[in-house]
Structure formats: structure tokens, C-alpha cells
């Protein structure tokens, strides 16, 4: 874990993709609590992104209210009562949707970047 997280090369999480990252994380890793999700995102990003870890919580409650993730109470490694999040079936579908959207957006931008004149 690098102490130096103010490197100018790092960028913020692109707007709107935090949901996708969280859903994908849960899809891959199964049920996790908030800290684990944040750490996992940081690990996969390999330092490419500067994530305020706390910022996942507003995203989590949003996803929960949409019905894409479900919560249950459990106990953390430090013996504290904490929420565990899991992907729902609707969430899995939404993940597909978001992935498709992301790929389409990518392809569109790529086409424009390649277009000559």
C-alpha cells in the first residue's frame, strides 16, 4: 500500500463508473463488506486511481436502493457488526447492461479518435 497517493499521474474514478466497479467486484468476489470492496478496487486498479475509500458508501446505498445489491449483517475481522453486500439477480443483469454501455461508449470514442478527417 503506497503512502504516496497524491501523485498527479493518478486520476479520480471516472464519473458514473464507480457503480460498475462495485458491481463487477461483487460479481467476481462474491459477498464482501465495504472495506473489502474499497481495497479490492484499489488493488485491481493497481494505483491507477485515487479513490477516497469513503466514497463507496454513498454509491453502495444507492445501489442498494435500486435493488442491485442486497445487504445482510455480519461480523468483521475486528469483531464489529458490519454490513455485507452481495449482488442480486437484478444486479447481475444491470452489470451486463453497464458493461455493454461502457463498451459501446468506448467503441464510439475509439472510432472518433481513429477517424481521419
Amino acid at each position: 500500500m503506497s503512502r504516496d497517493d497524491t501523485s498527479p499521474a493518478k486520476t479520480e474514478v471516472p464519473y458514473g463508473t464507480l457503480d460498475l466497479l462495485i458491481l463487477k467486484t461483487l460479481d467476481t468476489m462474491g459477498t464482501m463488506h465495504g472495506y473489502s470492496i474499497a481495497r479490492r478496487i484499489e488493488q485491481v486498479a493497481e494505483g491507477l486511481v485515487r479513490l477516497s475509500q469513503g466514497s463507496i458508501y454513498p454509491a453502495l446505498i444507492r445501489l442498494e436502493q435500486q435493488g442491485w445489491i442486497s445487504t445482510r449483517w455480519g461480523v468483521s475481522e475486528t469483531n464489529r457488526k458490519v454490513k455485507f453486500y452481495a449482488l442480486t439477480r437484478a444486479g447481475a443483469k444491470q452489470l451486463q447492461v453497464e458493461v455493454t454501455n461502457w463498451e459501446n461508449a468506448n467503441a464510439l470514442v475509439a472510432r472518433f479518435l481513429e477517424a481521419k478527417s
Binding site: G54, Y57, Q65, Q66, E77, T78, V82, K83
Partner: protein
Amino acid sequence: MSPRRAFHRLLALVRFGRHERELNGEIQAHLELAERDLRASGLSPAEARDVARRQFGGITQMQDVHRDSRGLRWAENAIKDARYGLASLTRDPLFALVAIGVLALGIGANAAMFSLVDALFLKPLPFPNPERIVRVWEAPSPTSVNSATPADFLAMQERNTTFDALSAETLTSATVTIAGEPTRLEGRLVSATHFQVFGLQPFLGRAFVAGEDQPGASPVVVLSHAAWRNQFGADPRVLDRELLLDGVPHQVVGILPPGSFDRDVARPGDGPAAFWKPLVFTPRQLDASEHWLNPVGRLRPGVTIDQAQADMLRVRAGLADVIPAWKKDWSFRVEPFDARLIDDTLRQSIAIAAIAVVLVLLIACANIANLLLAKGATRAKEMAVRSALGASRGRLVAQLLTECLVLCALGGLAGVLVARVLMDAAVPLLPASLPFTSEIALDWRVLGVAAAIALAVSLVIGLLPSLRTPPDSLTSALNTASRGSARGTERLSRAIVVSEVAVSLVLICGALLLFRSLHNLQQVDIGVRVDRVVTASIDLPLAAYPDAERAAAFYAALAERVGSVPGVERVGLSQDVPLGGAGGENLRVPGREGQMLVGFKRVDAGYFETLDIPVLAGRGLRPEDREGAPRVIVINQELSRQLASRYDVTNPVGAKVTLASPHYDGGTGRVEDLIVGVIQDERISRDLRSARQPAAYVSLAQIPQRQIKLIVRVADLAHVMPGVREAVRQLDPQLALARIETMEQIKTRSLAGATQPTWLIGAFALVAALLAALGLYGILSHTVSQRRQEIAIRVALGAGPSRVLGDVLRRAIVVIGIGLTIGTVGALSLARVLRSLLFNVSPLDPIAFASAALVMAAIGLLAAWIPAARATRVDAMTAMRTDT
């Protein structure tokens, strides 16, 4: 936003606390885990804590974003502000009580007034498709209407193409024996299709069927719901019974539904219609030219009133060859049923009362706004600090508005209670003047209006303090002395009180004008004795008194018997009481062109004496003027005057005129009459403002009538009626005395249309003046307490108490003076609204205006006295030491 999300957001409002706790828990857990991991990677506990926090990001910011994500921010803010507002009210209970009380009065009075306006003007009539119900009149001129003759009505009914049903209606009454007692009930004669016109389904039994209004049908009757309840104990078996109406058995076939026709009163003082009978025309009635039917009809679906009007004009054109010459220029007119339900005077009175009550509400709001301004001045610092901490101006305004909303919501709730009390108190007093179709109730519409008023008031009061320019910077706001109010506030407060004084003055002017008018009306000479005179109504049933002789004999016997009752001084009989209207007939002078419409009143020999009506020339009527004797009439002074001016008849006594006069059993004839006397005018019309009416009095014995009034002058009102009743009962036990009233009561009733609105507006004006005085007291009080230091210094420098008093009073006088000036200008321009309600008073009457100004000035100075006196008692030493 998906509905699921919306639902959760709403839920978050009530789960606010839980969400907060859970989030805090998660944050703690997260930081613990992060610290644990960091320690494991080699950091010291202190460093681990720092890095963990840094990696987490801003906690409070995240919590704020979390709240935005999960809930409805504006709703949460509103709830928070409302709680804060409620708390601040409980911290200052005196202010809260005064403010809520004033609001309750203002909102409650307006809600009550709205319920009246709603019942009279806004709510549709309680019939299905009421806009299709119309009245059809004969119209002598484009601006007047008249009842119809049977022949004309039948033509309308048979030849129209635009009506589903057309029915004729006329008044009737009958004596019904209920539980052994003969009782006079009012009723209506109607066509068989009458209830179809109104779309009424009977509550019990049936309505009339076709053919029941033809000769030979067996007698049937329908009762109103109220009559069924009150007279017959709501007994459903009454449908199997026969009812004796004037001795004739009638089958009760139906009961009307409750509400629609329970209060149908033909004239003030009449009872409500209790029964309906089919109208059967006699052959004589069909040929005669008396106008006594009021047709009412229901238009066919899709037909407009204009189309029906054109249809009726067509029908009339088709009657051209049978219409008598003198009616050639008449027409038929179709009007909406409710066009004449409320007369103009009542309409105007209510409109003015409604305006007055709105003005009272405005003054009440102004007072509360001032109170809040004063409170607001002490919160300027709080607002400055919050603004500096990042609250947007919109947020601050929203908070102030919400607190106002809490205050106004409480005021509105209390106002509903006030409205309930006002309506309960007022409703028993009103119905006499209100049409039977109006139902005054505290229903959802009224509650909705009360809520809307509370909302509007809170917006006005809440936004007013925001009109003050906020201080330029935090430091300047913090630097003003804690109890100081900005100059701007003071000016705004004073402007508000000036407007209160002005509006109050307008109301007081209006009230005084109305009182003067009422006084003038009360002074109108009725021309008859009002003291210790009792009247009663007697109906002679046709079966028992089939001809004129029987009736005349009854009159003579009645007058004699009642006259001998101990305590009775004089007896008279008449077709109508004074102020009770009269018939109208055409009078012609033989040998001269043209004719005059004169009032026509049948009276007996004792009438003039009983009522102290002086005979100015010739003689009054005598017992000798009966059937067989030469026909004589007595005319009133106004008729004498008009005969002189139009026909040069200078000495009417001894002149002969021809007067159309009705026969006992219907029909009219023309008779030559000899004028034998002239009496001083008595007031015939109930409307005291109307001009003098020419009238001819004929002998009741010569032209008897079945419905008469017994007029008795007594020594003592309280004890004589049983004796009179007994005398009548001895003559004919089947007769019932109805509508027993004293002349005092009759006169009071005729004034009621002016008395009630006048006192009402007077009450409003008083409330307004008191509120304005309260406002003046408030700002002066505030000014004095704000300037205690200044006053103390001046006292210390030698200013005497009278000087201090004078200063405060001068301030008050300026405010009152400006208010009076503006108010007078306003009153001058608005007073013409009252013109049609005023009797013998100009809307610009200087006495009323001057008195109003004096009253307001006096009240204002009185209100100013208390704070002024307090100012003189400011203790210089303590005032200069303290800061507040």
C-alpha cells in the same frame, strides 16, 4: 428515478436516525480494518490512524453526500426547520399564543365567510344537472318578469320542443289535523311532472304520475322530508294513511328526499313548504286572465337556454291571435333557476362583508409580520453566521418560511375551530334570508380554503422579513449591538402599521356609513301603530266556506268575538298585514284614458282604527259596507296625490273610479267604486326603502277572501293570545291560527336585511381597529425598549417626563396621521361600493368620515399611551448600565 428508489428515499425520511447510526458504524468498522491492515504493513498505530483517515477521505463530506444519495434532502430540511420552528415557539409562549390567536381569528373568520359564499354562490344546486333547470316567465318588459296565466302555461307546456318537462308552481296552504290539533301547513300546487324537472327521486313511495293533475283524479299529496320528520315522526306507515287537508282526504303517496326541499320558504315569515299537491285547473281558471303560475322546467340534454328562449318566443308568436290587446307587448322569458334566488341587496351585503373580512385578515397578517420582524432583528446575527458558514440565501429564506409555515399551520388549525364556533353561532340567525337550496357546512371545500389561506399567509409573512437587505458582512452584523434593530426594519415596521391604520379606517368608515343608513331605516315611518299589536293568519277552507256570504258572516262573528276577549282593545281583519305587501289591480277613472296599477288591499271596518291609521278626509270603512251595499273604496294619500296630478281629481272623496277586483272563487271583474275617504299612507311593501305606493282599500265584507289576517291591539301581549285562540276555536274548531307575530317582530324582520350585515361589518371594523391599535402598541413598545439608553441619557441630561412622553406620542401621531390620510383617500374611493346599500346617506358623508377618523385616532393614542408612560419611567442609571 425508479419508483423503487423513490420509495426508499421516502422511507429514509423516517429512518433518518437509523441510517445515521448504521453509517457511523460502518465508518468506524472501515477505519478499524484499515488501521489493522496498515499496522500489519509496518506502520505505527498513530501513523496507521492518520493514513487510514486520509485514505478514507473527508468523513463529514461523505456523510453529507450519503444523506443526499439516500434521502430527500429538501424534505429532511423542511422537517428539521419545522421542528426548530416549533421549538422556538415553545420558547416564547406569549408570542406564540398571541400570534396563533390572531391568526386563528383571521383565518377562522375568512373560512366561515367562505362557507357562506360557497353555499350561496359557488356550490351547484342540489339537483342532478342543475344547469338545465330554468324558470319561464311572462315578461311585461325587457327588465321585469311576471307570473303566467293557466292558458299561457298550457301553451308553453304543449307546444315547446326544448323541454324534457315543464311544470307550473303556485303557493297554497291547508289546515291539517295532526294529533287532534288543527295546524296550518304551507304547500305548493304543482304539475304532475314537477319532480322530474328537479330530477328528484322520492325517498319513500312515489312522485306524481301523468294524469294526476287532470280533473277527476283522486287527491294525492307528497310530503317534504322535514315535514315527515317533524309533523309525522318519520313514520313510514304514513304512506298508507289518508291525510285531511282542509277536510278533504288526500292519499300520501310519497316523501321527498332530505335536503332538497326542506327549507323552501316563499316569503320571509312563511313556514317552509310541507306538502305538494297536483295542480288541477278549473274551467273558469283556464279562461281567466289572472297571472298566478310560476313555470319551472328542465331543458332537454344538449339544449341551451338561448335555444329554449327562442323556442318560447316562437310559442308566443303562435299565440298572437288569442293574446289580449293590453298584453301585446309582453313576451316569454327563460332564465336559469337560480337567477332570482338571491336578491341583489343580499348579494351586495355578502360581497362587502367578504371584502371586510379579508381586510381584517390582512391587518392580522401585518401584525404578525411586525412581530416576526421584531423577533427577526434579534436573529440577524444567527443568520449572518450561518450565511458565513455556507448556507445559501435560499436555504435561509426556506428556513424562515418553514418556521412561518409552522406558525400558520397551528393558526390554521385553531382557525378551523374558530370557524366552527362562528358558523354554529351564525347559522341559526341566517336561514330566513337564504334560499332553500343553500347548505352551509364546514366541508372539505371550506377546509381546503382554510389551508390555502394559511399557506398564503405564511408566504406573505415569511417573505416580508426577507425584503430587508441583509447586512453587508458578517462583521458588521456581529458588530451591531445585540438588541439593535437596523434602520430598515424600523421603517418597514412603521410602514406596516401605517397601512394597518389606513385599512382599519376604511372599515370603520364603511361601518359608520352603514350604521347611519340603518338608523335612517329604523326612523322610517311605517304609518301604523307598532306597539302592542299582534297578528295571526287564518285560512278558511273552501269546503266549509264555499261562498262569499259564509265568509263575510264569519268575519263579522270573528271580529265581534275576538273583540270581547278581555285584554283586547281593538280588532281588525285584512288580507295582508302592514309591511306584508298587497295585491295589485288596475284602476281607471271613468271618461279618462289610461289606467293605473295600484295596491289593492281588502280590510274590514276595524282595520284603520286598530292600527291607528288616521282618516284624512271623508270616512273609513264601516260595517254597513257589506254585500248588497254600494261598493266603496278608501284610498291612501299617495293615490289621492297621483289622481290629482294625473287626472286632475282634486277632491277624490265622492269621485267614482273603476277597479278590477277578484271574485271569491277566482276570476276578476270590473266594478265601479265610490271613493269615500282618504287615509294617511301606511307602508305596504316590506322594503322600507321603496317609494310610496298608491293603494286602494276595499271592504273585506264586499270582496271576501279565504286567507285573512287577524290584527289585534291588546293591553298586554303576554296574556291575551290564549283568549283569542279560544274565541276562534269556539267559532270554528277546525280553524288553526298560524304565523302569530307582533307588529314589532314584523318590523324587525323587514329591517333584518340591513341590520345583520351592518352589525357584522361593525364587528369587523372593531376587530380591525383593535388589531391596528395592537400593532401600534407593538412597534412603539419595541422602539421604547430599543432606545432605553437613549432615553436614559436624555433624562439624565434634564429632559422631563412630559418631554419624553411627548416624543413617543409624537412618533405615534405621525404614524396615525399618515395612516388616517391614506385611509381617508382609500375610503373615499371605495365608499361608492356601498352606495346601493345606503339609505338616505351619501357614501361621502363627512360626518361618518370625521367620526371614523376620530375613533381611530382615539384608539391609536390610547394604544400609544402605555409605552409612552413606560418610557417616562425608564430608570436612567440601570438603563445606561445594561446592554439590552
